[in-house]
Symmetry: C2
Subunit: 357 residues, 2 copies
């Protein structure tokens, strides 16, 4: 079957008119009569004519596409931010395409190339954990292409950024654990140089200091903070036989791993050890016990990020970079309740309305 | 700050040579001396020259981009399929961009336009639940653009497809529940006309028939099968006061909702009611009790889908559409164990190695 690629010239020839008349008719130009428009549309359909979007994008310089780079789209946090971005973008007739870096530096560099070759009008990105060189983002800026970073940001770029107050979220969480009677609080953090973990560690340290509790480096466990890392970190703490009464993990996945290991060792949660994570991933409501965590306001973050992006698109890239900081929210669940409260707590009904399902 | 858009002509002018020499040098043509190449590259860098990917894509007709349409990227199933696709694609130097339909027909139509305007070389898609008109996909086929569907497919298109054997997965699950002593098995399904739910219902019906258990329409609950839908369906069954001893849900999210409602009514799981879902979402291992479910072999499905896609790309779109069917796997966890087994089961250690974290 031959698939012809009809052009406006083919349509013009068939109708014995000019290409510019056809073009005007297709673009609904008021100078063209309705009868002609009808004829042109009919012939366009007959010839299976497809407007050349690429050429038209080249002319207008606008693809109406926003490229979003996320480490992985299946983290509830990232997918919710993307949802917030799409809400705003779609209202403005922009579309969103996603490219995943999988936390790999090389893949992240590729995502930028991928999105640029998809002709996006701009890029919104969250930086991978292993990225220490930001040249690929600098190139985007150098080309005058709008760029906004969210959550995982860097001081190495002069760029608009949207973050939550990680320090505040961590500080509130550790204050809560201390109020529950905890004094020996393990902290799971990442050795990576990205802002969010540094800020969460700072919040942990300041909450201890505020309460006159000495900082003990033996209680700090560094890892990538996936589920398996959390298991290993918890096992490592148990092996060291140091006393602890709580775990504050900078990641929900790692705290889930810690809970598994504690259960296997018949450590009672929250009676013997209280735990809190960070991120409010959906499984934190489903797990047994449900997990105290910090909600990162992901959909609002997506909306604000998109608004920042469109401001930039309007005002041009010479505008001064903005930094927006959103307040996260501590959500207290079973894993950190004191035993009395825990006994009466059956199912945290409130969580359901917060659920993204 | 002026941001110049340097062309190969600018480079040629500065170096007092021709644009075609510059172009050849940049394309590493062996006819050009290394010295000239070095000069050209240096000048290109100095002028911040960026090769015009759009123009070069127009010339070659290849963007090396694959567009993937998924209902939502944060379902573990879809994100794992995408991961499988990316594995194969990246090996072949292709990149993947994702566009989400959010199960909305209009958005799905938009995803196709979005990906085409991003100049993808082809599209891999899973159809939204609410799609009953497939014209947007037919258009892709009519344009001669390679298209492969996975999981959520349709008989209305002559197109290559990769699915799991939903019938087999459902049949195995219901057989398992019957072996555990269940006779009154509620089934959560969707009224939507997509293949997967029809096949799962057929597997449910055939397993009952095989065991001489009559089909009771009162036990069938139709919904969108999100968590909240599962809650409502379970409540509806309880309100009807009909006897039941098991729930087989065609979605993990709905079975999670059912478990919450049963717990609120102090129904013991699995002693009073046994439950099984479909999809092996990560939370099915974390929940209390952990949930019996069907693993859909999502990463292998992604790989096979990508291989089908590249076969199509190589052989051209006139090739005969292929349908590949993969076998899913029943994973038995606490929610469907008979009480004796349940008592000895503490934590399903095996699940950890299967976990995607």
């Amino acid at each position: 079957m031959k698939k012809g690629k009809a052009t406006i010239h083919d349509i013009a020839e068939k109708l014995n008119t000019t290409a510019s008349t056809v073009s005007r008719a297709l673009n609904n130009n008021p100078r063209i009569s309705d009868a002609t428009k009808k004829q042109v549309l009919k012939m366009a359909k007959q010839l299976n004519y497809q407007p050349n979007n690429i050429a038209s994008a080249l002319r207008s310089g606008k693809s109406k596409l926003i490229g979003v780079v996320v480490p992985t789209a299946n983290r509830n946090f990232f997918s919710s931010v993307v949802r917030g971005i799409e809400e705003i973008a779609n209202n403005l007739n922009y579309k969103v395409i996603i490219s995943q870096s999988y936390e790999e530096y090389d893949k992240e560099v590729d995502t930028i190339e991928t999105l640029l070759s998809a002709r996006v009008d701009g890029i919104i990105a969250s930086i991978g954990k292993n990225t220490e060189n930001f040249e690929h983002f600098q190139k985007v800026l150098d080309k005058g292409i709008p760029l906004v970073l969210f959550d995982r940001i860097t001081d190495h770029l002069e760029v608009s950024q949207v973050v939550i107050d990680d320090y505040y979220g961590a500080y509130q969480t550790v204050q809560h654990l201390i109020k529950q009677g905890c004094k020996r609080i393990v902290h799971f953090t990442s050795p990576k140089k990205i802002n969010i973990y540094k800020e969460r560690l700072r919040g942990y340290e300041d909450a201890l200091k505020e309460n006159g509790i000495p900082f003990d480096p033996l209680l700090i466990e560094e890892s990538n903070m996936q589920l398996e890392d959390g298991r290993q970190s918890m096992q490592h703490i148990l092996d060291k036989k140091i006393h602890f009464d709580a775990v504050f993990s900078a990641s929900d996945y790692a705290v889930m791993g810690a809970i598994q290991v504690l259960k296997e060792h018949h450590v009672r949660i929250p009676q013997d050890v209280k735990l809190a994570g960070f991120g409010n991933e959906p499984f934190t409501t489903f797990s047994d016990p449900s997990i105290t965590t910090v909600d990162q306001k992901s959909i609002p973050m997506g909306r604000v990020t998109a608004e920042t992006f469109f401001d930039l698109l309007k005002s041009g890239t010479n505008s001064v970079p903005q930094k927006t900081v959103l307040k996260p929210e501590l959500i207290i669940r079973q894993s950190s309740q004191s035993p009395e409260e825990y006994k009466t707590l059956n199912f945290d009904q409130n969580d359901l309305t917060n659920s993204s399902y």
